[in-house]
Amino acid sequence: MMMIRRWRRSGDFLRSACKSLTSLRQKHNSMSPSVSGFVNRYESKGKTFESNAWNDHNRELDHHSCVGGNLWMMQQYKSFGSSSSSASKLQRNPLFSSLEPRDVSFFNEILGGEKYVVQDEERLETANTDWMHKYKGSSKLMLLPKTTEEVSQILKYCDSRSLAVVPQGGNTGLVGGSVPVFDEVIINVGLMNKVLSFDEVSGVLVCEAGCILENLATFLDPKGFVMPLDLGAKGSCHIGGNVSTNAGGLRLIRYGSLHGTVLGLEAVTANGNVLDMLGTLRKDNTGYDLKHLFIGSEGSLGIVTKVSILTQPKMSSVNLAFIACKDFLSCQKLLVEAKRNLGEILSAFEFLDNNSMDLVLNHLDGVRNPVSSSENFYILIETTGSGETYDREKLEAFLLKSLEQGLVSDGVIAQDINQASSFWRIREGITEALQKAGAFYKYDLSLPVEEIYNIVNDLRGRLGDLANVMGYGHLGDGLIEPYVYEWTSKHRGSISAEHGLGVMKANEIFYSKSPETVALMVSIKKLLDPKGILNPYKVLPHSFFSP
């Protein structure tokens, strides 16, 4: 069949491009590991796609890659054949126990009934599947603890019984880190959603891990504060999950990463120990700052149950401009100029390329290109400050100067919040549009700013018609498979700028970290979680933990 043939062809291409990778993989999987995650998906939906004669476009191998300052690369697979999935390549650790009725009884007792001990198939179906519908586990049980004490009891029990668990928050992750790989018990902290305290002078917010990010923002708004992070998934993601994955997002350029804004947290380790590191002080140099271990550990070292975070005063004057640039060099120069001229009021600098724009325009409703002409690159510049007129003038002056200098070919400034929302919709809607468009590979890479778009052009050259390669991302943070990872590694970038390693990139860490570093990580993991029950098969390479 034409589809499979092309698929095999691309498989060959990928294989030849990344020889080192094939040595890490089993031979029968002719696609790269990062690709195999998709095979898993399509296997289950195989029939739909193979019999679907949508359009010729779909039968080709589409690769969408998104590149960012950190970079997101999407490779879209519209055709595929059946092949072994990464999950079946992965073996369930036989040292883990299987769920037994006595376990369910125990949980019923300590959590208080069926309401908190979920075995309902429909609900489990959702909890077992990640947001991108790429990964699906087969857990038979989801627990909904209401307090830290309950989390502690659950973990203590699971550790003694050698039951593997998956901590789960909003389940909006993009690397399969929040869903079971096999039958791990899901521990969802969604019911732990209370705000515990808020200091209106210092702006320190203390809340439970299950609070939804958008709800926290709504809570802070009337008090005149904002959360230091903002991402497209804000309506569903939990702050606990954000902390556990060290989420970046659109405001990183202004407020910095969670390693800086999280002042403290409370976490429960695998044996049920509650670690109270819930400080609210900006300055506290007493011993090793252990909270940093948990920030970004993706639930593999402990379950975060409470977070203390520094929020920022809300500044009323927000301006947003949507700019068109001819080439990537102009985008980079514009970034430098923006940092220099807009300085302290610059709060976001995002970019997307033409392919991304086309994708969004084609797949989302009610969206139009703010700039009348079609250009190669589009940039979103946002300023946040306290002086409405002053900020406005500063932004206008900067943009007009850039226009005169030829850095910018066209652009618009949003006149009201509605227009601003529609600009953001374009940038934030790319992932959604990709989902609607079909199968894709998404690479979230960070590279030195000057290298960023080179990888997209490089891939375009190599993949030609096979792929639709597109790039977008947080250019301002300096925030795109086997070939991609190698390229990234060679150019001293990170293979996962923001989304974490999850299950998708668990074996790829060596592209960005040295063997000695990884060895130490493994030691720490084994120290904190000797049986490896917390979120197994993820983050660190499987080979270190298989019996």
Binding site: D221, P222, S316, S317, V318, F322, I323, R368, P370, V371, S372, E388, T389, R392, E396, L399, L400, L403, V408, D410, G411, V412, I413, A414, Q415, D416, I417, N418, Q419, S421
Partner: protein, 252 residues
């Protein structure tokens, strides 16, 4: 022909408003203000008519404190040719605004006056109609579809969105038209236009210049939030529902 467009500076549509503690009005401190969305649509329509060749000049006018100039700048950035700012220290009610616009119309002699059908802060939906009455001009309100101008006959055809459906009117010019939501999608302010707007003039006028009597017969006594919606109750059986409908809600 000249088109006069009245634009109002209001609290941005997307902002969650709060009533001031003294109940004299809505809190507008540190709150994002923008051009009234209906006024944007009105201005967009005027610009399209000019681009179609039926008008020579589009003049934007705003009445209020000095920050109104920002709103006028937006209008100029969209494409209006010049702006008029009528200084006023506080916000006026529709009749006063209508009198001011009438005076302006006597000075400027436009062929068309465009307004948004209502402002989103007071929802009055009165100014356009009052202006027409004061001037003795025909009016076509809630315009929802293409406004076609007939150059020779000096008239316009307007589709109005009314409760029963669509009504098509033909009005002789000069006339007053107020715009509704579905009329058009306003353009964005592009950088080149923002640049051009910097050199477009905004004339300042005072109430004395226009000889308008601003005394109002209406005084705002109090502004309060609507009562908070009470939470619902889940009933356990049909009988209980009927009981409640009968004895508590008194609807059965």
């Amino acid at each position: 022909m000249k088109i006069l467009v009245a634009v109002k500076r209001v609290v941005d549509y997307a902002v969650k408003i709060r009533v001031k503690p003294d109940k004299t009005g809505v809190d507008t401190q540190n709150v994002k203000m923008s051009m009234n969305p209906f006024c944007e649509i009105a201005l967009e329509e005027a610009l399209r008519i000019k681009e179609a060749g039926f008008a020579k000049e589009v003049v934007a006018v705003s009445i209020g404190p000095s920050q109104c100039v920002d709103t006028l700048r937006t209008g100029l950035a969209m494409g209006a040719d010049r702006g008029i700012h009528v200084e006023a220290s506080y916000s006026f009610l529709p009749l006063t605004i209508a009198k001011i616009l009438k005076s302006l119309a006597d000075v400027e002699n436009p062929g068309l006056i465009f307004l948004g059908k209502q402002a989103i802060d007071d929802d009055c939906n009165q100014t356009g109609q009052m202006v027409a009455a004061l001037l003795g001009w025909p009016q076509a309100t809630f315009a929802s579809k293409v406004v076609v101008l007939d150059k020779d006959k000096q008239s316009a055809t307007v589709d109005r969105e009314v409760d029963e459906g669509l009504e098509t009117l033909s009005v002789d010019l000069p006339a007053v038209i107020t715009t509704d939501l579905r009329l058009n999608q306003p353009r964005y302010a592009t950088l080149p236009n923002i640049m051009k707007a910097k050199s477009k003039p905004i004339k300042k006028m005072t109430l004395e210049d226009l000889k308008v009597d601003i005394k109002s017969d209406i005084e705002i006594v109090e502004v309060t939030e609507p009562p908070k919606r009470k939470s619902g109750v889940i009933v356990s059986s049909v009988d209980e529902l009927i009981y409640k409908l009968k004895n508590e809600a008194h609807v059965v």
